[in-house]
Amino acid sequence: MTEQQNSPEKKASTATEIPQWQLDLDQVGFVRRIFIARKWYGGDWWFVVVSAVLLLFIIIVGIFPQWFAPYDPRAEVGPSLLAPGEPPSAYVLVIRTDSGVVEFKQIANRDNNIGFVIGSPASQAFREVVGALNAESQAAGEGSQYQPRPQRFESIEEGLAALENGEIDGYIASPDELAGVVENFTGVEILGGLRVEADKGFVMGTNQIGQDVLSRTIWGTRIALIVGLSSAIVAIMFGVPLGLISAYIGGTLDRGLTLVMDSLYSFPGLILAISIAAVLGAGIGNVIVAIAVLYIPTYYRIVRGQVLSVKSELYVEAARSLGAKGSTILVHYIFPKVIPSVVIIFSVNVADAILTQAALSFLGLGLPPDTPDWGIDLARGQDYVRRAWWLIAFPGLMVSLVTLSFSMLGESLSEILNPRLSEL
């Protein structure tokens, strides 16, 4: 309020002053203009930039997952249910001192017994090593089958005692477990490492069949993007022309289509997608179709609404009275008006499609079971929810992140492109 006492001359000059950045707007190129716009749009500008950067990264990951994923998403690369960062522990084979065994192969036949503590990861190591032996012999064309019988024990002492008595031929345990115990049994010795301790574990752990969660999560991006983008594009290809035509022609066709589209729109989308996907059966194309159907009414409604309002505006009237053809009016007057809202809806729609696709695979519909897909991984992870949080957290985080980027872009674009705002 101290300002009031200022002389009118001073005021008069501030009233007509235009901030320099606003004048700059007219002189600079598109890129600079985007930066300058930051001052005008504030938080929404940052929303757009953050989501654009995220999306760029996500799209690169989706196109080239092999650059980022350390392992093949379908391969079993480690012990199962390994927590993130935890290195798979080493396992050693214990034998009787007098048995003369120098190699695991020697006691890996059908009539051999191998012991370990019940329910411990040693069983995993056992299975792995037998599998490796068989693969090896198959590759060498030997045809011999290794199939030692597993013997499960309540405790390590029990097992070592059984080994000493000759009931079993070998015992599998980790060096940590054996320390301080093995010395009490005179007749046994440690033969050597079955599996060495890895120096590093898996960043996001492994799942129940020993696949790398990180690699699967990265490869899942590809499926999500393919389904999300293609179903949105298919929906546009049907929804936009239908909306244009319906609004432009009007009459019975318009009323009928609108009624159908409104009913479709009011029906719970996921349930519709579930029923279509269930009837069509598994396959990525089917999923795309099932999801695309949900969004056709969205485009139809928005395009039809826009066309109706544009149609009533004067310049279309004028163009028509000047004898412009219907198609000219459509392309030159109506299309440009409709495009901004289609862009906004598109990005929101991709977000929603990705969510729907994840939901479908979570429910066991749509994709073949081995696909590296977030929804499938989450559905499997549900069975291990008490033990392995990482099976939920990482794919869940990734779905949310991708959806977030698309919807943030749509939301802030719609705030920025809001006609009332841009009028200023």
């Binding site: 309020m1 200022n6 000059s13 009233a15 200023l424």
Partner: protein
């Protein structure tokens, strides 16, 4: 009444600016004038010249991106620019009230007529008894020619004229001294409009309120107002008693404006005057007198230096170099705007 010279509001060097993407719009630019107690002051001007902005500024109701960038509004001797938010809320409604152009939308559609009035009284006079409130509302509304039973109606059940009278009632129910009517009658049809105008004059006579009547309709001002103020591009061109201004318009803009009004007395042969040029873009207003590019009587100084609103005759103020001493050019170099 107007000659009593009892000043209710003094506006001094008021500036209002809107910051837009295309630059700042100086919608009210160095406006000073007085409103006398009990008068009806008509404010006229082309669309976009800042009439509504001025009206809102008198109640400090300018919303972002707009801002009152300077000046004083002295109401009953107190500068309302110094008021706190709380004082301002008390001021609005109790001292000044406003009636807007569109009666369809200026009442809350889900609130009954009496609820509007009760709310206003409860906010400003929380101690009033329920029974007193009802009495006050009933007598007021009947005085305005609306039946009592209409009080429990919702706005959409009333006609446009009735709604506008309800808005007037909302202004009177708290005994406001000043009523600002911004195009209050524009959207009504002619007969309803005439009735409302008559009623406004009666109300002035009866309640002694002061009315600032913002309108496009010069004929209406001629009929009801005591004085007329003519605004052009954010500034006052001329202000004076209604008869004097109509008989002898001094500012070239006022002359043009009055000549472009269709009148019933006009001969069919006589062409309506059409003012040359367009109203200026207020982001970059013309230098000097803002009217000079369109002015048929412009002289060199008009393009360079802004004149002032000065009293030329008894009660008449004009903002034009034709009626004031022209200074040496060198004396005011700062005034030239870019």
């Amino acid at each position: 009444m107007a000659n009593e010279k009892d000043v209710l509001v003094q506006i001094r060097n008021l500036y209002v600016t809107y910051g837009t993407r295309l630059g700042s719009v100086s919608a009210v630019d160095d406006v000073s004038f007085d409103i006398y107690r009990g008068e009806i002051l008509g404010l006229v001007g082309e669309s976009g010249c800042g009439k509504s902005t001025l009206g809102k500024a008198l109640m400090r109701m300018i919303k972002s991106p707009g801002e009152i960038t300077g000046g004083q509004v002295i109401f009953n001797g107190e500068d309302i620019m110094e008021y706190s938010d709380k004082q301002m809320r008390d001021f609005r409604g109790r001292r000044t009230s406003m009636i807007f152009q569109d009666p369809m939308t200026s009442l809350n559609p889900v609130q009954r007529v009496d609820e509007h009035m009760i709310e206003a009284i409860e906010v400003h006079e929380p101690k009033t008894k329920k029974a007193n409130i009802t009495d006050r509302i009933t007598s007021l509304i009947e005085r305005l020619g609306i039946q009592k039973r209409r009080l429990t109606d919702y706005p959409h059940q009333l006609s446009g004229g009735m709604r506008q009278r309800v808005m007037v009632g909302l202004g009177l129910v708290l005994n406001a001294h000043l009523i600002i009517a911004d195009e209050a009658t524009t959207s009504l049809d002619v007969i309803v409009e005439a009735n409302l105008v008559d009623q406004l004059r009666e109300i002035r006579d009866e309640f002694g309120v002061t009315i600032l009547m913002i309108t496009h309709n010069i004929a209406l001002v001629a009929e009801i107002a005591d004085r007329i103020a003519v605004m052009y591009a954010g500034r006052f061109a001329e202000i004076g008693p209604i008869n004097d201004v109509f008989e002898d318009p001094m500012h070239p803009y006022t002359q043009g404006l009055l000549r472009s009004v269709p009148s019933i007395r006009l001969d069919d042969q006589e062409e309506l005057y059409k003012m040359p040029g367009e109203p200026p873009n207020l982001t970059q207003p013309p230098s000097g007198c803002r009217f000079h590019p369109r002015c048929p009587q412009a002289i060199p100084i008009c393009a360079r230096i802004q004149p002032e609103l000065l009293e030329t005759k008894q009660g008449r103020l004009v903002n034009c170099w034709l009626f004031q001493d022209q200074p040496e050019e060198a004396a005011h170099p700062i005034m030239v705007t870019a």
